[in-house]
């Protein structure tokens, strides 16, 4: 066990996989010599060589395309999209191509690409360095969608993603790279001493599809993923309500049993994410929970989300769900 922040644990996952499987290759913009603009691939090119860890031309669509081809021809590519906002030039290659290859080829071909991408707000990135586009990918059958939230699950989930024979879009909450984020821009702790910063150096994995019950309680179920898990924790504390806090970890396929059993137990549910509300993955969670737990629900399922607007720069703290907005939503579910 070593104390790691999320950058280090992701780096450790990549190093383990480079070590374990010679078919793993890593590439993206600035990931080679420089080690990535967020340093996630730091030192890997030096250690594993230019053929295994390399810079790509600045073209996300091209990066995804070569990943597709490499994966189809026996490699296990791990590509980086420098910011999730820049995944859109690669959207066609992901949703029309990677997602459908296995199905359309009758299972003859498949491509086990992992797409790592830093996502979400809280770093004053404005419109185009803050988006959290997970929902779009959850609507695309054929890809798995993962969103890590802390150093421990980041490593275990990334290893599972790389080992998965299906394409995986892997979101990393960049706001949490160096520390958990509790919704207060003036309080920026590091991961030091956090329970999830104890990370094994060696290979381990967390199965895709399993959520993590982060807090246990009795009266309300709070479901979240990514950076918002920590904000939700604060919100729960602020509310004073006894809550289950579920860190979803994998969005497709999501952990039905944990979620459904929890809501059946508590009878209340609040979903928290930072992407815009309309058609965010919170909508799916709300619809699914409602379908499965209707007769157990004591009050409406609430969603606390980013607004249905582009992500702003100066006023980002008014955009992101705050502990107070979450706490109020939890309390509203208790009113009836």
């Amino acid at each position: 066990m070593t104390e790691m922040n999320m950058i280090q644990s992701l780096n450790s996952a990549l190093a383990n996989m480079l070590e374990k499987d010679e078919n793993v290759v890593i590439f993206g913009e600035d990931v080679g010599y420089f080690g990535g603009v967020f340093r996630v691939t730091d030192g890997l090119q030096e250690k594993y060589g230019k053929q295994r860890v390399f810079d790509a031309p600045l073209a996300e669509g091209g990066i995804a395309a070569i990943a597709f081809g490499m994966g189809l021809n026996g490699l296990r590519p791990v590509m980086e999209i420098q910011f999730a906002d820049y995944i859109f030039p690669a959207y066609d290659q992901i949703v029309n191509e990677m997602a459908k290859l296995r199905h359309r080829s009758g299972g003859e071909f498949s491509t086990p690409v992992t797409i790592r991408t830093p996502a979400g707000g809280g770093i004053k990135g404005g419109h185009h360095h803050s988006q959290s586009p997970e929902s779009q990918f959850t609507h695309t059958p054929g890809i798995k969608v993962v969103y890590c939230s802390n150093p421990y699950n980041a490593k275990g989930l990334l290893i599972s993603a790389i080992e998965s024979n299906d394409p995986v879009v892997f979101f990393e909450p960049k706001r949490c790279y160096r520390g958990p984020f509790y919704g207060d821009p003036h309080n920026v702790p590091t991961w030091k001493g956090h329970e999830y910063s104890d990370v094994p150096d060696e290979h381990y994995s967390i199965p895709l599809g399993e959520a993590n019950l982060t807090m246990e309680g009795s009266d309300c179920t709070v479901i979240s993923w990514g950076a918002m898990v920590h904000v939700a924790e604060e919100g729960i504390k602020e509310s004073g309500v006894s809550c289950d806090l579920i860190d979803l970890q994998t969005l497709v396929p999501w952990d039905r049993d944990l979620v459904v059993n929890s809501v059946k137990k508590t009878g209340r549910c609040v979903i928290v994410h930072e992407a815009p509300k309309t058609s965010g993955f919170g909508a799916e969670m709300s619809a699914s929970v409602q379908e499965r737990c209707f007769y157990h629900l004591e009050s409406p399922i609430e969603r606390v989300t980013g607004w249905d607007t582009p992500f702003p720069h100066s006023t980002e703290w008014d955009y992101l769900p705050s502990p107070t907005r979450i706490s109020e939503a939890i309390k509203r579910t208790m009113e009836d």
């Binding site: 290759v25 053929q51 790509a56 031309p57 073209a59 669509g61 091209g62 395309a65 070569i66 990943a67 597709f68 081809g69 490499m70 994966g71 189809l72 021809n73 026996g74 490699l75 590519p77 030039p89 066609d92 290659q93 029309n96 191509e97 459908k100 290859l101 296995r102 199905h103 359309r104 080829s105 009758g106 299972g107 003859e108 071909f109 498949s110 059958p141 054929g142 798995k144 998965s164 024979n165 299906d166 599809g209 497709v252 396929p253 039905r256």
Partner: protein
């Protein structure tokens, strides 16, 4: 925002018009490219600059009379030539039969290679069997070269219970892993850039597989074309990048696909050798492809080829080209017809005759008919049996996740 005062020298942007539209009489300039015009550089040392003339000119081996000559003559044995001819005829006859079946509803849709048969046949013959083939819908012919079972091809097209892609894709979207033939995808262009990754993986593994891929003149306007050229120029994997310039993209003429005169020259500034080749000249196509394979196999990276040809048929079974081009335009194409030209060459060298050709066509017709008859015994699109509905749910992922399993149970089939 109101425009500033003053005005420019033209009325508006220009919108190119096709040279000939229905009612016009086509008159293409005859080609003055001769087989002797262009030298054959050494594939192991050739620089992109050395191919400037090859990109601006046109590589031919057969002249208009079917006589082969010049440095690019691959000097194929008559057996090889006859095999090429046979495959081209097979493809054409196959296409005609499938087109007929489409009209009866046994297929939902079809696309022919008509007029462009040399592309897939000649180029695939110039490769090794294990080379990766990354086609568009216009190169199913590769499969004949690699002896794919015709029944299985038809099973796919008619979406029956034996379709190896389980009725999931439209006809002509073949998949054949054993033949190193990668699943055809409808979105045009995407395969072109993916192929670069396939070739990179071959390079990584150090095996001797070369990758070939094609893109249409129309589709070369997609970003994927640029990605492919540029990534190939940077990483230099063993790949052959072909633009099939068949003059049309559905109803739009080649001059709308690009303001430039030719496609071949585009790759030179990326430091990739590039050739323009007469796409209806079986020998020239073979030779240039072989050159590119030699280069790739020597570790010298990519070659770019513009294949100049003409789409003699409709775009697809959904299309009526007489609405947008003269119905006889193909007759004026200076490159003629690929089958006629190779046939003429074989006759010239005393290896073939009209009678033999007729016999061949009859043999192939029976072959196709037999395959067709067998295929429909496994069902067809109009009448079934189709792949079971449960195939909708499998192979979305390696394993079926719970939510898809639930849905499968909901459908209850």
């Amino acid at each position: 925002m109101t425009g500033a005062e003053g005005s420019r020298g033209m009325d508006a942007y220009s919108v190119p018009e096709a040279p000939y539209r229905p009612g016009d009489k086509p008159s293409f300039d005859a080609w003055d490219f001769a087989p002797e015009d262009l030298s054959r550089p050494d594939p192991k040392t050739c620089t992109a600059k050395e191919t400037v003339e090859h990109a601006e000119g046109l590589i031919r081996v057969l002249n208009d009379d079917g006589i082969a000559s010049g440095e690019w003559n691959p000097n194929l044995s008559s057996d090889e030539l006859l095999l090429g001819l046979e495959h081209m005829c097979r493809l054409r006859i196959f296409d005609e039969r499938m087109m007929k079946m489409q009209r009866t509803g046994k297929l939902s849709f079809y696309m022919r290679s008509y007029g462009e048969e040399a592309v897939a046949i000649s180029q695939t013959m110039a490769l090794k069997y294990h080379d990766w083939v990354f086609p568009t819908y216009r190169q199913p012919g590769c499969q004949f070269v690699r002896n794919r079972d015709m029944v299985s091809m038809i099973n796919h097209c008619i979406g029956n219970v034996e379709d190896n892609v389980k009725g999931r894709q439209m006809p002509v979207h073949y998949t054949w892993k054993e033949g190193y033939f990668i699943s055809v995808s409808s979105p045009v262009g995407t395969q072109f850039s993916q192929a670069v990754g396939v070739a990179m993986a071959s390079a990584y593994k150090g095996d001797d597989q070369v990758t070939i891929t094609w893109i249409g003149d129309g589709a070369s306007a997609e970003g994927d074309y640029h990605y492919a050229i540029n990534f190939a120029s940077v990483f230099k994997p063993p790949i052959i990048l072909c633009v099939v310039n068949n003059q049309w993209a559905i109803s739009t003429h080649r001059n709308l696909a690009s303001g430039g005169e030719n496609f071949a020259s585009r790759a030179i500034p990326y430091d990739i050798p590039s050739f323009r080749v007469d796409g209806n000249d079986f020998l020239a196509l073979y030779s240039v492809t072989k050159w590119a394979r030699q280069r790739a196999s020597a570790g010298m990276g990519a070659t770019h080829i513009e294949v100049l040809t003409y789409r003699s048929g409709a775009h697809s079974s959904s299309d009526d080209p007489s609405r947008y081009r003269p119905s006889d335009e193909q007759d004026f194409w200076p490159g003629g017809d690929p089958i006629d030209r190779l046939k003429q060459h074989l006759i010239n060298i005393g290896q073939w005759s009209e009678e033999q050709h007729l016999e061949l066509e009859q043999k192939l017709d029976s072959e196709v008919t037999a395959a067709y008859k067998e295929a429909v015994t496994h069902g067809d699109l109009a009448n079934g049996p189709w792949p079971p509905a449960s195939t909708i749910f499998t192979e979305v992922y390696e394993e079926i996740p719970w939510h898809i399993q639930e849905q499968r149970e909901q459908l209850g089939k």
